[in-house]
């Protein structure tokens, strides 16, 4: 069940020049409901007339033990700037948990989780979930430079991590789609989140190699729960549907990204 709840910020860490990890817990210590990888929250940005709408953010991790939600935020100005400026102890009002989840692989299937920049956010939660369920997920993280690679230690605890950066400052130089792992290894399932051109390239790679692939979309979302009909994606055979309720996770076969 979706809910609106006031949270309190328990931690706000700057991971690199633009990326922040904010941890929040319910203000009145209400136990958090079950949440699934791929789901997101809608963050209310306080006291700002120029930032009118809530901002959707992936659930980076659900820390059951500490009753916390982790949010990975890239400060790209505007609303994200306001959120990253918040201090420990300040309030944050969230609508959550919203959206669907990734589908689990079949038994013994190999998985690769490909994230670009802050798009790695939901993949940590997914990776933990896969790992808890006995899978051995592998990760391919990409960015413009080493500064875009966040939470490397957390990912490394969950499985093998490959890295690419466009400037070569960390890992392989180039784009995630050029990483040799994609040529040398055989995966049964790919999950991806990041910039749309990256996800389209991965969807194409998956289609060419007959690999099942799921992507997390980030269309503009005023409401996040299927009321405003603004975040639509044109899906094969079904037409315009809401990314917020029927997604944000889609099998790339359903999308009109590639022919």
């Amino acid at each position: 069940m979706k809910q609106q709840l006031d949270f309190i910020i328990t931690s706000n860490k700057k991971l690199n020049k633009q990326t922040f990890l904010i941890k929040v817990t319910p203000k009145n210590a209400e136990p958090l409901p079950e949440m699934l990888p791929g789901q997101f929250v809608q963050v209310l940005v306080h006291d700002s007339s120029s930032i009118f709408l809530r901002r959707p953010l992936s659930i980076n991790y659900y820390d059951k033990e500490n009753n916390e939600i982790w949010l990975l935020i890239q400060n790209v100005g505007g609303g994200t700037n306001k959120i990253t400026e918040l201090k420990v102890g300040e309030n944050l009002n969230l609508l959550f948990p919203l959206g669907n989840t990734f589908s689990m692989p079949d038994k013994n299937q190999t998985t690769l989780l490909i994230g670009g920049g802050v798009g790695t956010a939901p993949l940590l939660f997914l990776g933990k979930n896969l790992s808890d369920k006995g899978y051995t997920p592998e990760f391919l993280l990409g960015g413009r430079s080493a500064l875009d690679i966040s939470q490397l230690n957390d990912f490394e605890k969950l499985g093998l991590v490959y890295i690419t950066t466009e400037d070569g400052s960390m890992g392989q130089k180039g784009l995630v789609t050029h990483h040799p792992a994609l040529k040398e290894k055989q995966y049964d399932k790919i999950y991806t989140c990041g910039p749309k051109p990256m996800m389209i390239a991965i969807a194409r790679y998956a289609a060419d190699n007959n690999i099942d692939c799921e992507a997390s979309l980030e269309n503009h979302m005023p409401c996040g729960f299927g009321a405003c009909l603004c975040c639509i994606e044109n899906i094969k055979e079904r037409g315009n549907i809401c990314v917020c309720t029927e997604g944000p996770i889609f099998n790339t076969k359903e999308l009109q990204w590639i022919d």
Binding site: Q4, S50, F52, P222, C223, A227, C230, N240
Partner: protein, 303 residues
């Protein structure tokens, strides 16, 4: 709670707080966040005779204290509404009012005829003010002649409460309100969105796929309030006021300007339970000011 009761035509509302079409889905989208039975009514998504895919993405642009949308009446058509949606929502303990849209007068008539027999739909809101469709929509609501024509035609086939939703994109909204009143409208609701535009300066491109769209949110409230007041001073039928309402104080302002009831729109996206908070806030206001009934406040602007 009788203190909050108001009447719109034959329609008795338990309170004057309703939710605006296009911002509240079919109500079900909000049932996790609030108790729908606390509302005076729910205006469900704009419905057309034939299914509509709506406009292409992007359909939304954020603006200071508001947003532009160009959804373009995406819906599965009135027959789908009757067969698949109505059975799921008819037991709600609040009034369900369908917003009826069309491209031609025949569309409006066809859509209305499909709804007239539904027991639990006590009223329709005739949308002659959608700015986001190529044909019809707002075109009907921007001239007295065409507004009168569509209301006259629908009135002939609809004997329940007929509400007409007015466009603010006109020179004199009171004139349009008078024209639809003369053709038998039981109530006018106003305002729909203002035609607006947003541009991405860096890319030198419009932010909406349709270039223009409808502006809503707190930024339009002062203009909406002025229009409600002008219409109140012109017509005898009740008014449902809306335009940027985001708290109980806004709602009281619209009632003072002459609204019998109000609709909460865009702010539902920001705070999905704002409408019930407004009901509580209005009651509290009546208590503080020793006012017996909300009816005593309608149009009671002191000047």
């Amino acid at each position: 709670m009788d203190r909050l009761k108001v009447k719109i035509g034959d329609l008795e509302l338990k309170n004057p707080v309703m939710t605006a079409s296009g911002t509240f889905g079919y109500g079900t989208e909000y049932s996790d966040f609030m108790d729908l039975s606390r509302l005076g009514g729910i205006f469900v998504k704009g419905t057309t005779l034939e299914p509509r895919q709506g406009n292409d993405y992007p359909r939304m642009a954020e603006t200071p204290s508001g947003m532009l949308n160009s959804v373009g009446l995406q819906n599965k058509g009135v027959h789908y509404f009757v067969s698949d949606i109505y059975p799921k929502i008819k037991e709600y303990d609040t009034h369900i009012i369908v917003n009826v849209s069309g491209s031609t007068i025949e569309d409006y008539i066809g859509c209305t005829e499909a709804l007239v027999g539904l027991d639990k739909i006590p009223a329709i809101e005739l949308n002659i003010s959608c700015p986001n469709v190529k044909e019809g929509g707002m075109a009907f609501g921007t001239s007295c002649v065409s507004a009168a024509q569509v209301v006259k035609a629908v009135r002939k086939v609809y004997d329940k409460t007929l509400i007409v939703k007015l466009s603010p994109n006109v020179t004199d909204i009171a004139e349009i309100a008078l024209a639809v009143e003369a053709e038998g409208a039981d109530c006018v609701s106003l305002v729909n969105t203002f035609l607006g535009m947003a541009i991405d300066a860096e890319k030198r491109k419009p932010k909406l796929s349709t270039i223009t769209g409808g502006l809503s949110g707190p930024c339009i409230k002062p203009i909406a309030l002025r229009m409600v007041w002008q219409v109140y001073n012109a017509v005898k039928i009740p008014i449902i006021g809306m335009g940027g309402i985001s708290n109980w104080k806004d709602a009281i302002e619209f009632i003072l300007a002459g609204s019998h009831a109000i609709q909460v729109g865009t702010y539902n996206f920001i705070n999905p339970s704002v409408s019930v908070e407004i009901v509580d806030g209005i009651l509290n206001y009546l208590d503080r000011h020793n006012i017996d009934s909300i009816s005593d406040l309608i149009g009671k602007l002191d000047y």
